[in-house]
């Protein structure tokens, strides 16, 4: 269940003077609910003060520099006992300080965040000590929840005994509590405002206060145990590079895979989506592909200076033409070593999937898998403590178009492990085995709270054949080339043609785009094909691939920056080192489409960003010899939208369904159905403040594509069946 304003079970606000008092709720708490206390030590501009954490509470944040003499604190008790109603507060400080407190009882909060990771912002009108008419909360970092609750707290100390009053909360916030104290020499007040937080992004709110007052505000964004979060995929492979050549070849950036054992193939047989699949086949041998945490070249799991991968969530799809005759390792994750990690395998005796952590007991799936069809596996591996756990699910028929979902399996858990971050993940067998398996549509993430990723498809997006590449700077700094080095004057059409072959031709007949002159700010912008998600799909993320070229040895560099029409991502890939390209090898470099893929920066790929998707190549600091690329590819991850009933009439004769992004809740499309007979219905709604109406004939299913980027785009939907006869 998502977190909504309904999860604020009760609240109260009050105040006291002196060194102690109680924060209270009108009714007893329900066991297990969280209690949040927000306290402001306000009034009296002549005395300093401080707030002590109440017994049993953890201090989330405290700001003691509020106008030098006041204090603000946020404290959380994660799990209250039944029927708690009062909590003692103690404060220090003299003069006429007033303690204004607010208490929220909240259910189903997810407090399993690293310290400080609750999106939080505290700001105060310090320094100038000028009384103001508005008080801003400041802007949080990016909140990645799609169904959280944002709570803003505002504090004010008047310049005299006139009581401050708050109003006009912006950005959709509304007041849920306010308290003032007519104290001398300075009156004071505190207010809480809240809203459902349904869009990934930063959060802020500003309130007006009258009369002008000294003040401050803070913002907290809570998320729920089962809240939906941005997908934030940080590892993707759909095999759409079309060749196994160069799978580990990158010099200055993640290769498609960081390591392989055996001879993996990229084949056109059994692609689940797109045109290609990864084929792993071995006879009494190990064969696998791996993503690593490494420095040179930088690994898909980041470098050793990046944030560690504290959890690993993945969706995989496997296909057997024939089930292996013996147990076969299919996937794994390591925390320092294979023994201190997770292994998933096919178990021949039962034809089931087994998951085992370390030397613990293997947990088998609840049913057998079948040959000649794709099955999907979702995992969430958590090695943060010495008891490693793995939530997992099996989608026994993951054929594209099949709507049956994954079946949750018994969580695997093993104690006595070594806690740490994930250092390697892989697909295939690390042990000698005889098997052939096709793998496709792989999506994974280091972000927590993304399980299960669920059904995904990885589709190839190539250079837009109808797009118009352009140069920023001087076009004379760039050339297209044919015959592996025959340069030609740069043209838009020539660029499109030169970059469109996937996989690229390497060697004597190779073509591509090159930068021939150092120009740190010049680049070629290359529009990519678009993909319209509505009415069937939601967009989840993507990964860039480009194959590099240099005209001779001792190569220079060429930098890559993706652009989504809103932001040019600063990848720094190719910026500082030789790219290692040459004119005889296929060397891939990749980049996850996220402003900061290894630092857990949330990113939501929207339709408008997809429409504007472009690659920028250039920015070269060393174009001697000429340095360039053969091709550029974007692997787009999409997810079938999920259908819910929104409204129905006359015992289900008339219906409106919504096809929705299962994470963001954004509306992909609406479907209206009418019964046989003579009565149709009118569907209507408001999208981006524009009204639309559509008549649906009798005995018809009509689908209205919406393609919303977020849940906020649609503000009304309705249906009116024809009058009865």
């Amino acid at each position: 269940m998502p977190l909504t304003l309904d999860n604020i079970i009760q609240q109260d606000i009050g105040n006291f003077s002196g060194s102690s008092g109680n924060a209270t709720l009108p009714a007893g708490t329900q066991a297990g609910n969280a209690v949040v206390i927000i306290v402001g030590l306000l009034g009296d501009n002549a005395s300093g003060g401080f707030i002590n954490a109440p017994a049993g509470f953890t201090q989330v944040k405290q700001a003691s520099t509020f106008l030098q003499w006041n204090d603000v604190g946020v404290f959380i008790k994660p799990s209250a006992s039944a029927d708690e109603t009062s909590w003692a507060l103690t404060v220090g400080g003299g003069g006429g300080l007033q303690t204004i407190w607010a208490v929220l009882e909240m259910s189903d909060l997810d407090l399993d965040w690293p310290a400080g990771d609750i999106p939080y912002k505290w700001t105060y009108l310090s320094g100038t000590e000028t009384a103001a008419a508005t008080i801003p909360s400041g802007t949080t970092g990016v909140s990645e929840t799609f169904d959280g609750v944002a709570v803003a707290a505002f504090f004010a100390t008047s310049t005299d005994t006139n009581v401050p009053a708050f109003s006009s909360y912006d950005n959709g916030f509304f007041e849920i509590a306010e308290r003032s104290a007519a104290t001398s020499p300075n009156a004071c007040a505190m207010a809480l405002a809240a809203k459902a937080q349904q869009v990934v992004g930063p959060v802020s709110c500003t309130a007006s206060v009258s009369p002008n007052s000294y003040g401050g505000a803070l913002m907290l964004v809570f998320t729920g145990l089962d809240s939906h979060h941005a997908a934030n995929l940080t590892a993707i492979f759909g095999a759409e590079v079309g060749t196994a050549t160069g799978l580990t070849s990158a010099v200055d950036g993640p290769a498609p895979f960081d390591a392989v054992t055996g001879t993996p193939e990229i084949v056109t047989t059994h692609p689940r989506s797109g045109s290609y699949a990864l084929k792993l086949s071995a006879s009494a041998a190990a064969e696998n592909v791996r993503w690593l945490r490494q420095d040179a070249p930088r690994g898909t799991l980041g470098t050793t200076t990046d944030n560690p991968v504290t959890m690993w969530t993945k969706r995989l799809h496997f296909y057997f033409e024939d089930l292996p005759a013996a147990d076969t390792e299919l996937f794994f994750a390591e925390v320092g070593s294979h023994a201190n990690g997770l292994v998933g395998r096919y178990v021949s005796a039962t034809q089931k999937i087994g998951v085992k952590i370390g030397s613990g007991s293997e947990v088998l799936s609840d049913a057998a898998i079948a040959a000649d069809q794709y099955f999907g596996v979702d995992i969430e591996y958590d090695p943060r403590t010495t008891t490693h756990t793995c939530r997992w699910a099996v989608d026994y028929d993951a054929t594209v178009g099949d709507t049956t979902g994954g079946v949750a399996q018994t969580t695997a858990s093993t104690a006595g492990m070594t806690a740490g971050g994930v250092t390697a993940v892989g697909i295939g067998s690390t042990a000698a085995a005889t098997f052939t398996v096709w793998v496709d549509d792989i999506g994974a993430t280091r972000h927590r709270k993304t399980y299960p990723i669920d059904d995904i498809q990885v589709l190839p997006i190539k250079v837009d054949p109808a797009g118009t590449p352009s140069v920023s700077g001087s076009s004379t700094n760039f050339r297209t080339f044919t015959n592996n080095g025959t340069l030609a004057t740069w043209t838009a059409a020539g660029t499109r043609t030169a970059l469109d072959d996937i996989p690229p031709t390497i060697g004597a007949s190779a073509d591509g785009l090159a930068q021939i002159t150092v120009a740190l700010t010049d680049y070629v912008l290359i529009p990519m094909e678009t993909f319209t998600g509505a009415p069937d799909y939601a967009l989840m993320g993507g990964r860039w691939y480009w194959a590099g070229w240099a005209s001779s040895g001792n190569p220079g560099n060429i930098q890559f920056k993706p652009d989504d029409g809103v932001t040019e991502f600063a990848t720094h890939i190719g910026s500082a080192t030789d790219c290692g390209f040459d004119d005889t090898s296929l060397i891939w470099t990749t980049y996850i489409h996220n402003p900061s893929p290894t630092q857990e920066s949330a990113y939501a790929l929207t339709q408008s960003k997809m429409n504007a998707l472009a690659a920028k190549f250039g920015f070269s600091a060393d174009a001697n010899p000429d340095c360039g690329i053969h091709c550029v590819l974007f692997e787009l991850v999409v997810q079938p939208a999920i259908v819910y009933g929104v409204m129905s009439g006359e015992d289900g004769a008339f219906n409106v369904y919504v096809r929705q992004d299962r994470r963001s809740g954004a509306v992909v499309s609406y479907l209206g159905t009418t019964p046989p007979g003579t009565r149709g219905m009118t569907m209507y709604g408001t999208v981006d403040a524009v009204d639309w109406t559509q008549y649906v004939d009798p005995n018809t299913t009509y689908e209205k594509a919406i393609g919303a980027d977020s849940i906020a785009n649609v503000t009304a939907i309705g249906m009116t069946p024809d009058p009865t006869e």
């Binding site: 998502p2 909504t4 304003l5 309904d6 999860n7 604020i8 079970i9 009760q10 169904d147 959709g172 509304f174 007041e175 849920i176 809240a194 809203k195 459902a196 349904q198 819910y644 009933g645 929104v646 409204m647 129905s648 009439g649 006359e650 015992d651 289900g652 008339f654 409106v656 809740g665 209507y684 849940i711 649609v714 503000t715 009304a716 939907i717 309705g718 249906m719 009116t720 069946p721 024809d722 009058p723 009865t724």
Partner: protein, 243 residues
């Protein structure tokens, strides 16, 4: 030709189990009266109409403060008692209105509309419909998922310039479970046509809203039976015409 009239509104019932919204106080089941019970539940919960009852419509808000608004109905028969509505899930709250003078066969409504207002504010505008017959009693309902702490003053300032006799009939919330409730007002639309939007003000905090509007149509008096001789003549004329 007469406008359907409100006989009365029963007491609301709320629970986290089965509920029994009552008949209006003192009401004795009278054949052909129309009972409409509005219910509010969490978005994923379901109201199953009791035996002999049927669904008019339902509408779901599944984000923000989630809510689901239901309308179920029955053409009353003598001896009926207020039925029990099975446990819907997290919580359920329901209330019944009895209307007299509606059409005595088929669905008692001329037209209805169901919609959402996915804007968190303290005003509401419930879309109207276009009636195809005169003398419709209009029922405009709105629900939110707010924990209303048994509020009965959530709505005020019901207004619709296209109707006469706009009257609040229901205004009930519960704090049970995740809480929620609804309001409902009636108005009269004498001439067929657009009934206009009904607006109201919420005293509770801003919420997304589930909305519905139902036009209950009158029982049209039967035409006077023509003399049998006229009928025979008429049939003869028709027959001769076809020749």
């Amino acid at each position: 030709m007469a406008m359907p009239t409100v006989v009365g509104v029963g007491a609301s019932a709320a629970g986290q189990a089965a509920i029994t919204p009552a008949f209006p106080g003192g009401y004795t089941a009278t054949a052909d009266d129309i009972a409409v019970t509005f219910c509010e539940t969490e978005s994923g919960d379901t109201v199953t109409p009791p035996t002999g009852w049927a669904a008019v419509t339902n509408v779901t808000v599944s984000s923000g403060t989630v809510t689901r608004l239901w309308a179920i109905w029955r053409r009353i028969q003598a001896g009926d008692t207020a039925p029990t509505i099975a446990d819907a899930g997290n919580h359920d709250i329901g209330r019944m209105i009895i209307v007299r003078g509606c059409v005595t066969t088929g669905n008692p409504w001329d037209v209805f509309t169901t919609s959402t207002e996915l804007v968190a504010d303290t005003s509401v505008s419930i879309p109207g419909v276009t009636t195809s017959v005169p003398n419709c009693l209009m029922l405009y309902a709105v629900s939110t998922g707010q924990d209303g702490s048994s509020s009965t003053t959530a709505y005020s300032a019901w207004a619709n310039a296209s109707l006469t006799n706009v009257t609040e009939r229901m205004d009930n919330y519960t704090a049970l479970g995740l809480g929620g409730g609804f309001g409902m007002a009636t108005g009269e639309k004498a001439a067929a046509g657009a009934t206009g939007a009904m607006t109201a003000t919420l005293a509770l905090t801003a919420n997304f809203k589930a909305l519905m509007t139902i036009a209950l149509k009158e029982q049209v008096a039967a035409a006077a039976t023509p003399p049998s001789t006229y009928l025979v003549r008429s049939q003869a004329v028709n027959r001769s015409y076809h020749y």
